[in-house]
């Protein structure tokens, strides 16, 4: 028996993937144009430098990466803007898909892998779009939309399951809260990880420039400096960390109601804990000599890798109470 609402939901989700894919292309175009633009800038700087050096000045300017231009070129703005518009359309389709899935199942749409992926990526997109209204993060449009397309692709191909009722152990408000907060936290951590990755690239670029090697990844010239990226990453992961702390606590309360103990080092509990500790390490690293900057950015990425591992590998391959998440039927 196929639930018609679920079918519509799946169709909408596939359309959302398609729209996100076009958004990705638009954002990629934006990045390509940034690259070309900063090439033009470099040429400009070179000319100035040539003039200066022929006039007896130094050619130091060549080594310094060009500063971001005052305003982006018009073509680029159009590409980035259509990327955002497409992402909004994708998010609307995506949201409708999730809502219909929830109606079809008669509960919140986050009770199995397919649904986590669906709602979790929706939250990632929404967090990104909201962040865009406050900070210019358009350069992350391509990586974020690309990542969402990949995750949703995997979810629809490998994890799709027909709607089914919740087993009794999962019928709890704490589960609703626990998973919702975990997905929200993941949304923030995703953005923070992207920023830390950009920060590391930015540091690499500066190092190359300082050692006088030719520049690669010119588009980074239009991206904020490493320091600023680090601060943004920090601010966003702080929110993620608070949410993850709530995830840990809500999970413990739920475990207490369902299994009679609030903490039992079950596989998923272990990984939730590991993630929390790694991010605590990241927050500490920002205040530790020798770790701030690049070191803390790596820790942020390691934390995110643990999140992906927890979702993609632990859920599927590891053995634990969460993996069958039903009532253990044996009275042993």
């Amino acid at each position: 028996m196929v639930n018609p609402l679920d079918q519509i939901s799946e169709l909408l989700l596939i359309s959302a993937i398609a729209v996100y894919l076009i958004a990705f292309i638009a954002f990629a175009l934006d990045l390509a144009r940034r690259s070309a633009e900063s090439q033009a800038n470099v040429d400009l700087v070179r000319q100035v430098a040539d003039v200066e050096s022929s006039a007896g000045g130094t050619a130091v300017l060549i080594a310094a990466p060009p500063a971001p231009p005052e305003a982006p070129a018009r073509g680029r703005r159009a590409a980035a803007r259509s990327g955002i518009a497409l992402m909004l359309v994708g998010a609307a389709l995506h949201l409708t898909a999730a809502v219909l899935r929830g109606i079809a199942a008669g509960r919140v749409p986050w009770a199995n892998m397919y649904e986590f992926a669906m709602t979790g990526t929706l939250i990632m997109v929404v967090v990104f779009l909201v962040a865009l209204t406050r900070v210019d993060l358009k350069f992350l449009g391509a990586p974020i939309s690309g990542f969402v397309v990949i995750l949703l692709g995997i979810a629809t191909v490998s994890y799709h399951v027909a709607v089914s009722p919740l087993p009794p152990a999962l019928q709890s408000y704490w589960l609703v809260l626990h998973v919702l907060v975990a997905m929200l936290g993941t949304g923030f951590f995703t953005l923070a990880a992207a920023l830390s990755a950009a920060q590391l690239l930015q540091v690499l670029r500066r190092k190359r420039a300082e050692s006088g090697r030719p520049e690669r990844l010119r588009l980074l010239a239009t991206v904020p400096e490493a320091d600023r990226l680090e601060n943004l990453a920090y601010r966003i992961s702080v929110v993620g960390f608070i949410l993850w702390t709530f995830t840990l606590i809500a999970g413990a309360i739920w475990a207490d109601h369902a299994w009679g103990r609030y903490w039992g080092w079950d596989t998923k509990e272990v990984w939730t804990f590991i993630i929390w500790v790694v991010y605590a390490g990241y927050l500490h690293a920002r205040a530790t000599l020798g770790w701030r900057g690049t070191g803390s950015a790596w820790l942020n990425l390691i934390g995110y890798a643990c999140i992906l591992f927890n979702f993609g590998v632990v859920n599927v391959f590891f053995h634990g109470l969460h993996s069958y998440a039903g009532l253990p039927t044996s009275p042993s």
């Binding site: 601060n231 601010r235 608070i242 606590i249 103990r261 390490g281 205040a287 039903g326 009275p331």
Partner: protein, 538 residues
């Protein structure tokens, strides 16, 4: 200011250990101790210990653990006999209570205490000190602005500045013709609260754990449990457990209702609800009915009663050839799959011929369906008229006399002879009776009821753990979200105008510093007399 300098300033230990790391040829024993302590309580050690803790937690998720998955441990040992010796030697089946894991978190918490105590002292002093002196030049600060005003006296401007800052909850002090202000002590307070509360969580978990007990009991419908040590199938007491720890009460299982999905074919036959109806009775009180569900335990007499398992119990009567009753009891069967095909064992020691004790190994098919090869399977988990129990029959010694406890779900057939096998099992529907082979008498299936497996917990430390967790969350949120800032207003007379300068400095990460300085300027000018609100022409 891009990175939190907070920890560095308020936390000089970090720098000290940094210096201590430099080779220092002659250290006396006392210096070594001091060096060790400084290193242990340094920020870098804390970070490394945190990362070590994360790494050390990983193996416990890869290898089955005795605490959470004892059956997995046995399987693992059978599958890798050689490797599991090594794993066992490294306490790999008990990672979270192992020496090495404990060492890491104990060191971490010692480091934490060593780091929180001096910070508490420092913070206590800092909270009562006046805000710091006004810096001489504002232009070096991350955020500053200035404005020339006319028609206002220096003193008037200063007083207005103080008022504005105080109303924004800054603590202020005057230094000459400037106001210095600071806010956000709460940030450090929150941080200290968070770290102290973590210690609280650890201590309450440890000390409180000693007062807990956890027990299991399988109750067949109609049976009663009393909260006494002998009434448990198994009981795991904490360190400080004694007989007085068990508060007396009784709990009778009246009915266990189970609902199965029947509409949605994708999930057909899946259990969607378990509800145990029970009657409880406290000493000297009237009995009360209550309901226990999977996610809602029953709280009674300081214990929580959880519904954690269920299954079918078959009521079986075995009659000796002379007509006397050898056995008449409900026997719990252990479910084998989602359709509740269940396996159970009936041990009958009280036969007239003691050489021929009877052992029955039964398969219970709640909704029996015959397969093409003549064997049965269950196609739906609900029991009733359609149910079938199929017994293999053994005679000999059932092994109950030795006095050693035996698993009620297993029959040791090594001293027994099979008299009815898989080819000719004794099959019974509810209410049916059959003759047993070899003149053993008769067996009757009187009925099939449900049983519930309850876990009974007593954990007096839980409220305390919850309290410290709540404090930790409160501390965390304030420490991460409250901005800590210093603000200054400097006023100087220049001819018939006054020059007012504003500046701000964040301690820690503060995205809104520039906005706060601009806001200060705006609010300060709004607090000045009407005449002074106009900017003087430059």
């Amino acid at each position: 200011m891009s990175r939190p300098s907070d920890a560095q300033n308020s936390f000089s230990d970090d720098k000290a250990s940094e210096e201590a790391g430099v080779v220092n040829p002659r250290l006396g024993p006392l210096e070594w101790v001091r060096w060790g302590w400084r290193t242990l309580t340094s920020m870098r050690t804390a970070l490394l210990l945190l990362l070590a803790l994360a790494v050390a937690a990983v193996p416990g998720s890869l290898i089955p653990q005795n605490s959470s998955d004892p059956n997995g441990v046995i399987q693992y040992q059978q599958a890798n006999p050689g490797l599991s010796k090594v794993v066992d030697a490294l306490q790999g089946f008990d990672v979270y209570t192992s020496l090495w894991f404990s060492a890491i978190y104990l060191l971490l918490f010692i480091s934490l205490i060593g780091c929180v105590v001096p910070r508490l002292r420092h913070h206590w002093k800092a909270m009562r000190k006046a805000p710091p002196r006004t810096p001489s030049r504002f232009t070096q600060l991350p955020s500053s602005s200035s404005v020339r005003l006319r028609g206002v006296a220096v003193e008037e401007a200063l007083a207005a500045g103080e008022r504005v800052l105080k109303s924004a909850r800054y603590r202020t002090a005057r230094y000459g013709t400037s106001v210095s202000a600071e806010r956000g002590y709460l940030r450090e307070t929150g941080n200290l609260l968070f770290h102290s509360a973590l210690v609280g969580v650890l201590v309450t978990v440890f000390v409180g754990g000693g007062f807990t007990y956890t027990g299991q009991r399988v109750l067949v419908t109609g049976d009663t449990f009393v909260n006494a040590q002998t009434s448990y199938d198994s009981l795991t007491p904490g360190r400080f457990f004694n007989d007085g720890s068990l508060q007396g009460y009784s709990l009778k299982l009246d009915r266990l209702d189970v609902a199965y999905e029947q509409q949605n074919l994708a999930a057909f036959g899946e259990a969607i609800d378990y509800t145990a109806h029970v009657t409880t009775r406290l000493p000297g009180q009237q009995p009360k009915s209550a309901v226990i569900k999977v996610n809602s335990p029953l709280e009674i007499a300081g214990t929580s009663v959880y519904l954690l398992g269920n299954g079918y119990a078959a009521h079986v009567t075995v009659t000796n050839p002379d007509g006397s009753v050898a056995f008449s009891q409900s026997v719990p069967f252990r479910p084998q799959n989602t359709q509740m095909t269940s396996l159970g064992v009936v041990k009958v020691p009280d036969t007239t011929n003691q050489k021929k004790q009877i052992g029955l190994v039964g398969f219970l098919y709640p909704t029996a369906a015959e397969q093409t090869d003549g064997s049965f399977t269950s196609i739906f988990p609900a029991a009733g008229k359609q149910s079938l129990v199929s017994f293999l029959v053994y005679e000999g010694n059932v092994g109950l006399d030795a006095g050693t406890p035996r698993n009620v779900y297993e029959l040791d057939t090594s001293h027994m002879k099979e008299v009815a096998g898989t080819k000719d099992p004794v099959q019974l529907k509810i209410g049916q009776a059959r003759t047993l082979p070899d003149g053993l008498g008769t067996v009757k299936l009187d009925g099939i009821t449900r049983y519930a497996a309850f876990d009974i917990h007593h954990d007096p430390s839980q409220q305390w753990v919850a309290l410290f967790v709540a404090l930790a969350v409160l501390g965390l949120i304030t420490s991460l979200l409250v901005p800590r800032r210093r603000m200054w207003i400097k006023v100087r007379e220049e001819g018939d105008e006054v020059l007012v300068e504003y500046a701000g400095l964040a301690r820690g990460d503060d995205p809104n510093l520039a906005r706060a300085v601009a806001d200060l300027e705006k609010r300060h000018r709004a607090a000045l007399p009407e005449a002074a609100r106009e900017k003087a022409s430059v």
